[in-house]
């Protein structure tokens, strides 16, 4: 069962093509991340799914309803938190939420009850009556999210929900998203940050220049660019050059060298390399603080994947 399914979405703006055939699947109750740099087509995809834009080609279903043929049904299922401020700055937090409740056909009393419930849940109760302009960035973002939850949507579309937030506030928002998912909400989120996708998403679709560059579980994507990373940090800075030579010999590549932390790393496909490295370091009497194999970070994966699609495009 899919909450969202899109096939071959195409969107053009004048001469430029924003989407060149994007496929996307979001299973019910799961979190899927769309990962990509600025201008990759993330927001365009979300806006099509939210019935704000008509695709020029392809088709998309949300909750089983076609976004072009049956937009009204789609709208009754989704909650959207966009990148822009989507609350009325001239009203207070509680007035904003009550307004949305009234637009969703709640009675005045029901709308007020729902508003205070959400304000409580998002720890905004003390700011309920304050003008929006006096809220902190984190409170604003929580209110944006609360605003998209008034109608208890089964499917939540979050467009870069944590852009511009400090790490603490970002973690808070992540916790809220995890709670919603635990309650059975399906979430599609876009992000430029691999860490965010890694933290929240069950599956990740990597988009670049309007095309899907890769799709899979975060762990699968990491493995897909091949092997693991062998890394070592010599205890003494004086040993860096000698250790670099050893690592280069063993892996047959030029190791990456972080001058700040003294960390050396190189791709390695043979797990036996770890014991070989230990032996060689022992022979050379080089002590190390850190040594091992790890999966590449999503940042490394992302750069590798988008570099590939760039080469294919050229």
């Amino acid at each position: 069962m899919h909450a969202i399914r899109a096939e071959g979405l195409i969107k053009r703006y004048g001469g430029t093509t924003a989407l060149e055939g994007v496929d996307l699947e979001v299973p019910v109750g799961k979190v899927v991340g769309i990962l990509g740099p600025n201008g990759a087509g993330k927001t365009t995809t979300v806006r099509i799914l939210a019935t704000l834009l008509r695709p020029d080609g392809g088709r998309a279903e949300v909750g089983g309803h076609d976004v072009v043929r049956d937009p009204v049904r789609v709208r009754s299922l989704i909650g959207l938190t966009g990148q822009d401020a989507s609350v009325d700055e001239d009203l207070s937090a509680v007035e904003n939420l009550v307004l949305l409740g009234r637009l969703l056909n709640l009675s005045k009393r029901q709308a007020r009850a729902r508003a205070s419930e959400l304000l409580e849940r998002f720890e905004l109760a003390e700011a309920a009556g304050r003008p929006i302009a006096t809220l902190s960035g984190g409170m604003r973002r929580r209110l944006d999210l609360a605003a998209s939850l008034v109608g208890r949507p089964r499917i939540l579309l979050l467009d870069e929900p944590t852009t511009g937030l400090d790490p603490h506030t970002r973690n808070e928002l992540w916790a809220v998203v995890r709670e919603l998912v635990a309650d059975g909400t399906t979430v599609l989120l876009t992000t430029q940050h691999l860490e965010e996708a890694d933290q929240l998403a069950d599956r990740v679709t990597v988009v670049d220049r309007g095309k899907v560059a890769a799709e899979g579980r975060p762990g699968e994507l990491k493995r897909r660019i091949g092997g693991q990373i062998l890394h070592v940090r010599p205890t003494l800075r004086g040993d860096l050059d000698a250790a670099t030579r050893i690592l280069a010999e063993l892996t047959g590549t030029t190791p990456a060298r972080d001058e700040n932390t003294g960390l050396l790393s190189a791709p390695a496909d043979d797990p036996m390399l770890v014991s070989a490295l230990v032996r060689r370091l022992e022979q050379a009497a080089i002590p190390a603080d850190e040594l091992g194999l790890r999966l590449p970070s999503l940042d490394e994966v992302f750069l590798a994947l988008t570099a590939t699609s760039e080469r294919n495009a050229a």
């Binding site: 609350v87 700055e89 637009l103």
Partner: protein, 257 residues
């Protein structure tokens, strides 16, 4: 699916939002209330003596109906401003991603504009009464006048909607609307009788919708002929709707779907 009754309710809820904003942000209130008040005080006490040759009561009678017409125009600017602000922030997107009729935000903004007009008119009339203005016709004529003013405001509201959907920022809406409204409000017989104007200006002033509407309002509130100027004003209202309503709807749809 939303029913027509729900659509109407949504429009009313959104109109209520426009009115709540008026209470919340005193700046808007100043715009709606201060403008007619300043014009009334300035023209009666500062220029009135010079224009009317000392007969301030006669001058008050002449300009109160005219400033009422101006006020309705002024209050209409806010319709475009609020629609523009909603379209340029994410507020419109929020409404459009909800099961709410596309027309509801537009109808809501226009209705809120009419409420703003009524607030302005009430303040203006209150001050005019304090300054010694008296109506010389019955309450029915006064009610007809208010209704006519609202219809006038509603006809020209589409210009404000059109401009609001056309330009980039709420500030530019105010700027552009002010420039468009200026020749209508000042090159008219609101403050000075058109007999004193040079021929070319007088020609314009005599057919200007604000002049015609002011004359009709003078007749309805002070007594006197109404029919001729009212017909002219109605023709302008029909023309404004014929020209600006389709333009407004087209640009609104482009922004809202």
């Amino acid at each position: 699916m939303s029913t027509p009754v729900q659509d109407l309710q949504h429009s009313l809820v959104l109109a209520g939002r426009g009115v709540a904003k008026l209470r919340r942000s005193p700046v808007r209130l100043v715009d709606v209330i201060l403008t007619p008040v300043v014009f009334l005080l300035m023209f009666v006490y500062l220029f009135g003596g010079a224009i009317a040759g000392g007969d301030l009561d006669a001058y008050l009678r002449a300009i109160v109906p005219g400033i009422m017409v101006m006020t309705v125009f002024q209050a209409g600017i806010g319709i475009g401003v609020s629609l523009n602000a909603d379209a340029r922030t994410g507020v419109f997107d929020r409404f459009r991603s909800m099961p709410v009729a596309r027309s509801a935000p537009l109808i809501g903004a226009v209705l809120a504009g009419l409420v703003r007009s009524l607030v302005s008119l009430a303040v203006l009339l209150g001050l005019a009464l304090v300054m010694g203005y008296r109506m010389h016709t019955g309450p029915l004529a006064a009610l007809a006048g208010i209704g006519l003013l609202l219809a006038f405001g509603l006809s020209f509201a589409w210009l404000s909607v059109y401009v609001g959907m056309l330009v980039k920022t709420p500030g530019s809406v105010i700027g552009l609307m002010t420039i468009l409204i200026l020749p209508l409000t000042f090159a008219s017989n609101v403050f000075v009788p058109s007999q004193t104007m040079p021929g070319w200006l007088r020609t314009w002033s005599d057919v200007n919708p604000v002049s015609l509407m002011s004359d009709a309002m003078r007749g309805l509130l002070n007594g006197g002929p109404v029919a001729g100027s009212l017909l002219g004003a109605l023709a302008w209202m029909a023309g404004a709707i014929a020209v600006f309503f389709p333009l407004a709807m087209r640009s609104y749809r482009r922004n809202a779907s």
